[in-house]
């Protein structure tokens, strides 16, 4: 549905987007994740035909956004970072204007406006001026504008920025409900959002794509080692060496201890399952096994690793071979 091939954008001497390629399939929600200034907005502006790239090619719904901009734009809905509202129009007037310029036939316009207001939950503010709306409403009216012509592709730049927690949940639900009918690209620098909303993630840093995968896949692929959390009611001094002695264990670290209860992080090589061995060893030592669970990296940690690592080649895109230093992983898991 969306195909981006080797897009580069340079402003003067600055390269904002550097050789970015990815594709989005029909009905999919793609998360565009990166720190501020990574090139997310620039990429989206190129996709929506707001600006041309210095180099490369982008296709939306089968139309090249540079050679057939009108056709592509007709099939694209775009919510920029700041909702592009006219302060002196009411919500209804604004959506009607958006419908007009996006080519909704005059006969259907009224119904579309009503339907979109209902869908984005702004109907109660229909006759209020846009300048008097709260941030949450502004964002939703902006989303309404993107939906008004029922486009095949939706491009949403930080759709939940500045919303309160309840509104964020509502907006995410709304976006999820739009998938299937629409192909969606959304950008964010908030990680849980990606995990909750998106089927696939493109991580971008300094204008380059550093990873493309499902949220689960990213988590799994980045974990070079499996880490287990083990909680035992024994003295740490005794349990530590015992755990280390189990075959396959590469590292043991004590992570927490309260009266009579000790937690350990136990690392093993990827692909080896040592849970049974640990359980057996603990029980045969006469201790009580209180907890045993795999520790997963949260997306947040992955994101930090991927985007802060300057020298290393893109670890995920490169494949399974590269793994971050194990110690970092373990520490990250505890905090």
């Amino acid at each position: 549905m969306i195909e981006v091939q080797h897009i580069t954008k340079r402003y003067g001497g600055v390269t904002a987007v550097d050789d970015v390629s990815f594709r989005v399939d029909k009905g999919e929600i793609l998360g565009f994740l990166g720190p501020n200034g990574a090139g997310k907005t620039t990429t989206m502006r190129i996709l929506t035909g707001y600006m041309p790239p210095t180099d490369g090619k982008a296709t939306v719904a089968g139309f090249d956004v540079f050679t057939h901009p009108i056709e592509a734009k007709r099939r694209t809905g775009y919510l920029p970072e700041t909702p592009p509202l006219y302060p002196d129009m009411t919500v209804r007037e604004y959506l009607d204007f958006a419908a007009k310029i996006k080519g909704v036939p005059p006969k259907e316009r009224r119904d579309r406006v009503v339907a979109v207001m209902k869908r984005t939950h702004v109907a109660d503010m229909a006759d209020r001026h846009c300048s008097k709306l709260s941030k949450g409403y502004r964002q939703r009216v902006g989303l309404g504008q993107a939906l008004i012509h029922n486009p095949e592709v939706l491009i949403l730049d930080e759709p939940t920025a500045g919303l309160d927690p309840k509104q964020i949940i509502e907006t995410r639900d709304l976006i999820r409900s739009l998938a299937g009918d629409h192909t969606i690209v959304l950008s964010t620098h908030i990680l849980p959002e990606v995990a909750q909303t998106c089927q696939r993630v493109v991580i971008i840093a300094k204008g380059r794509v550093v990873a493309v995968d499902t949220p689960e896949g990213l988590t799994a692929r980045l974990q070079g080692a499996e880490t287990l959390y083990v909680q035992i009611d024994a003295q740490g001094a005794e349990a530590g060496p015992m755990l280390t002695a189990i075959p396959g264990v590469t590292r043991v670290a004590m992570s927490d201890h309260r009266e009579g209860v000790h937690g350990f992080e136990v690392e093993s090589a990827r692909g080896t399952d040592i849970r049974r061995d640990i359980a057996r060893a603990v029980v045969t030592s006469g201790w009580g096994l209180l907890e045993l669970r795999p520790m997963r990296l949260s997306l947040e940690e992955i994101f930090l690793q991927v985007t802060t690592d300057e020298s290393a080649p893109p670890p995920v895109a490169a494949g399974d071979s590269a793994s971050p230093p194990a110690g970092d992983v373990a520490q990250g898991g505890v905090q």
């Binding site: 954008k9 402003y11 904002a16 620039t42 502006r45 929506t48 035909g49 707001y50 600006m51 041309p52 901009p69 009108i70 056709e71 734009k73 007709r74 694209t76 775009y78 920029p80 970072e81 700041t82 592009p84 509202l85 006219y86 302060p87 002196d88 129009m89 007037e93 204007f97 958006a98 007009k100 310029i101 996006k102 080519g103 504008q145």
Partner: protein, 257 residues
């Protein structure tokens, strides 16, 4: 390629936003007031003069040549002062508030947007001129002015306004700050008016060039009730050139990001 419906949508939106703020009413009111003042002053002068001429046994005086012409010439100058207020926000404000992103990512061509804004601003200008027709109507109530000459004068005013709007659009498209746009527009308009004030001291070629450049000078024939094709061509090509440069400016903005 260019859809009239899209142009109309933009033009109506522009007009609406003028009238949603006090700006439109302020501009129309201000112009009506100044026009009325000139109208009264020249009418008064005209009445006294023709009374005097009557006593001295001179020929009948012509209200078109001796009064309306001067009123229209003076209102052209006022329009020069007022027009930057109409055009300064057209692009600058959309760029500042980010709504330009809505326009540029909608299935509209640049030309549709430019024409829409052009006709929107021209619409407000037309409303401004329409109010002054009330003053002119008074003349018909009490006398018999030549209406064709007046129509020619108003045609001239519309063309002159079109030049100001197209140049104003261009300057507004160059900046995000509408105050900067307004001041720059005003400066350029003023320059285009007074550019031939030194023409008399110049050589013949220079004089012709300077006189030709002066945007208000071309209006004089219209004010006298004469429609001369050369002035129409001048104004229309001025408008076209202004809109062309605006299109280039909008396009280059896109590349610079």
């Amino acid at each position: 390629m260019i859809s009239v419906r899209n142009i109309l949508a933009i033009a109506v939106k522009e007009l609406r936003s003028y009238f949603a703020s006090p700006m439109a009413y302020l501009i129309i009111g201000l112009f009506a007031l100044l026009f009325g003042q000139f109208f009264y002053a020249y009418l008064d002068l005209f009445v006294r003069r023709s009374a005097g001429m009557g006593q001295m046994g001179g020929g009948p005086s012509n209200i078109n040549q001796d009064m309306i012409r001067y009123v229209l010439m003076n209102s052209a100058i006022i329009i020069l002062f007022i027009m930057p207020m109409i055009t300064m926000r057209t692009y600058a404000e959309e760029k500042r508030s980010g709504t330009i992103e809505l326009l540029l990512t909608s299935p509209l061509t640049d030309l549709e947007i430019i024409f829409g804004k052009f006709f929107g601003a021209l619409g407000l200008y037309a409303a401004m001129l329409a109010v002054t027709l009330l003053d002119i109507a008074l003349l018909f109530f009490f006398g018999r002015p030549e209406w064709r000459a007046i129509a020619a004068g108003y045609l001239g005013l519309v063309l002159l306004g079109g030049c100001f709007v197209s140049l104003g659009l261009l300057i507004s498209s160059l900046t995000k700050n509408q105050i900067v746009a307004g001041v720059a527009t005003f400066a350029v308009f003023l320059m285009l008016w007074i550019v031939n004030w030194t023409a008399d001291q110049s050589g013949p070629t220079m004089r012709a060039v300077l006189n030709h450049l002066s945007i208000i000078d071309h209006f004089d024939d219209f004010a006298r009730g004469v429609i001369d094709t050369k002035h129409i061509v001048y104004y229309l090509s001025f408008i076209a050139f202004g809109l062309f440069l605006t299109a280039k400016s909008v396009d280059s903005e896109r590349w610079r990001g």
